[in-house]
């Protein structure tokens, strides 16, 4: 089998989807950092989804749903995004081979559980993990740039096929995507302000009464749920709190549920536009991120059975997060590109 190695610049990232966007764009000659991709896509949010269960516990998301990041970055930069899903696995693999032969680097949606290079304790059924394939070696294994790993990895065709065609919630159905040509002169500055406005608007949640699951309202709702754990068995309370901490810290968020990535985006934007207000905002978001991390600390201390911490205390830390994010929202909304 002949070897194919297409040009790719691998850089480790916190989060898979923004990492794929950043690596794909950078490989095509347009250097974009991971936080910039995250910010431009207005990906920061909060959502408490009681009807989507993971291992019997509600899903808590700190960013927009999968695939929205790559879509909106491509749209903002006016780059064509060619994506395809497949009903038959062999066809999906053939299309991947063909794209590689044509010299493309190909983004894939996969299931973490079936990727053999993941450490055992991190393998769970999450079907929306993104990675980039940039070639194939002589043994027929695929050369993969998985953005959350330090180095590039390889994966056998059988394993990759299983990961691409895993079934269940958010099933990837073999999704692959290729970026088109990058236009010559891209001016990021106006896009940055637009993206920030959109993020700020979303922070309020959905303006329909009776749906308290998103944005600042969602955080208050979660805080209320934590107090209500008082009436539940203590084992459930521990698993529930542990689950929130995992969603916030473990699952590729760059710490504190993406808040630090967003702060990094604001910092970078201030350098790019020369707007010192963005830098001040970046510092404030850092404080918010620190507050989220102290929430994680409190929650885990409770799980460790320290009697000194009550559920009410944990809930209060979270309410502080919500209040700070509310302040952030008004500061972001009053931001203007014209001084």
């Amino acid at each position: 089998m002949s070897e194919i190695v297409n040009h790719l610049r691998h850089q480790q990232s916190s989060h898979c989807e923004t990492g794929v966007v950043s690596n794909m764009l950078s490989s095509k000659g347009f250097a974009m950092s991971e936080p910039m991709a995250f910010g431009l896509a207005s990906a920061l949010t909060f959502a408490y989804l009681p009807f989507v269960k993971m291992a019997g516990l509600p899903l808590i998301a700190y960013r927009m749903p999968p695939k929205s990041i790559i879509k909106s970055v491509a749209k903002k930069l006016n780059i064509e995004l060619m994506s395809q899903r497949f009903s038959s696995p062999p066809k999906g693999m053939q299309a991947l081979d063909k794209a590689l032969e044509e010299g493309h680097i190909v983004g894939l949606q996969t299931s973490v559980y079936w990727l053999p290079y993941f450490p055992e304790d991190m393998r769970f059924h999450f079907n929306a993990h993104n990675l980039t394939v940039y070639g194939k070696n002589q043994q027929g294994d695929y050369l993969i740039s998985d953005p959350v790993f330090e180095e590039v990895v390889t994966c056998s065709p059988e394993d990759l096929e299983r990961a691409r065609f895993a079934k269940g919630a958010l099933a990837p159905k073999g999704l692959m995507y290729i970026l088109g040509e990058i236009p010559d002169n891209i001016d990021l500055a106006p896009q940055i302000y637009k993206a920030i406005k959109k993020t700020a608007k979303m922070m309020n949640g959905i303006p329909i009464p009776g749906i308290p699951f998103f944005g600042v309202k969602g955080i208050h709702y979660l805080a209320k749920k934590i107090v209500e754990l008082e009436n539940k068995p203590s084992k459930y309370a521990r698993l529930y709190l542990g689950h929130i901490v995992r969603m916030q810290e473990e699952i590729g968020t760059g710490g504190a549920g993406f808040r630090f990535i967003f702060a990094s985006f604001l910092d970078e934007s201030s350098k790019l536009t020369g707007d010192s207000e963005l830098f001040e905002l970046s510092q404030f978001v850092t404080e918010i991120g620190d507050q989220w991390r102290s929430f994680a600390v409190q929650a885990v201390l409770f799980c460790k059975d320290r009697k000194s911490i009550s559920l009410q205390d944990i809930s209060d830390v979270l309410i502080k997060c919500a209040e700070m994010e509310k302040q952030l929202q008004s500061r972001l909304l009053s931001l203007s590109a014209f001084k």
Partner: protein, 134 residues
């Protein structure tokens, strides 16, 4: 989070890998820093992993005492529950609940066994076997 505060707690769940976090340097600007793990996060992960392991051990005991079918063990071992197994196989949840009963499971058609086997990526022969120990 300050760059100096980025935790380096060598989490066992990372298996020697490092994750990238964003933190503030002394000059107030952000930078990416590798972290070998955070004790707080590791505790939460470990709690979830232990819970799954315990469920698998319980499933093995229940199988050998005749309380549940081999399906319960394979479901737990592959970190699935009835909801996610239903989504992955296309069976209804009530069907899966029936298949967890030994008598019903033993009478399952080859076709249905094959669907389960394909989901777990094992053979139908392996699907009907449960080890003595995890």
């Amino acid at each position: 989070m300050k760059a100096k505060q980025v935790p380096q707690d060598n989490s066992p769940s990372y298996s020697g890998h490092k994750k990238l976090l964003y933190a503030v340097e002394d000059n107030g600007h952000y930078t990416g820093i590798q972290s070998s793990g955070w004790e707080i996060e590791n505790f939460a992960t470990q709690m979830a992993v232990d819970e799954l392991k315990q469920q698998t051990i319980d499933a093995i005991e229940d199988y050998h005492s005749g309380k549940t079918s081999a399906l319960a063990y394979h479901m737990c071992k592959h970190r699935l529950d009835i909801t996610s197994l239903s989504q992955a196989t296309g069976f209804f949840q009530w069907q899966i609940r029936r298949h967890l009963v030994p008598q019903t499971f033993n009478r399952l058609s080859q076709r249905k066994l094959k669907i389960y086997a394909a989901t777990f990526s094992i053979t139908t022969e392996q699907l009907t076997r449960v080890p003595e120990k995890p």
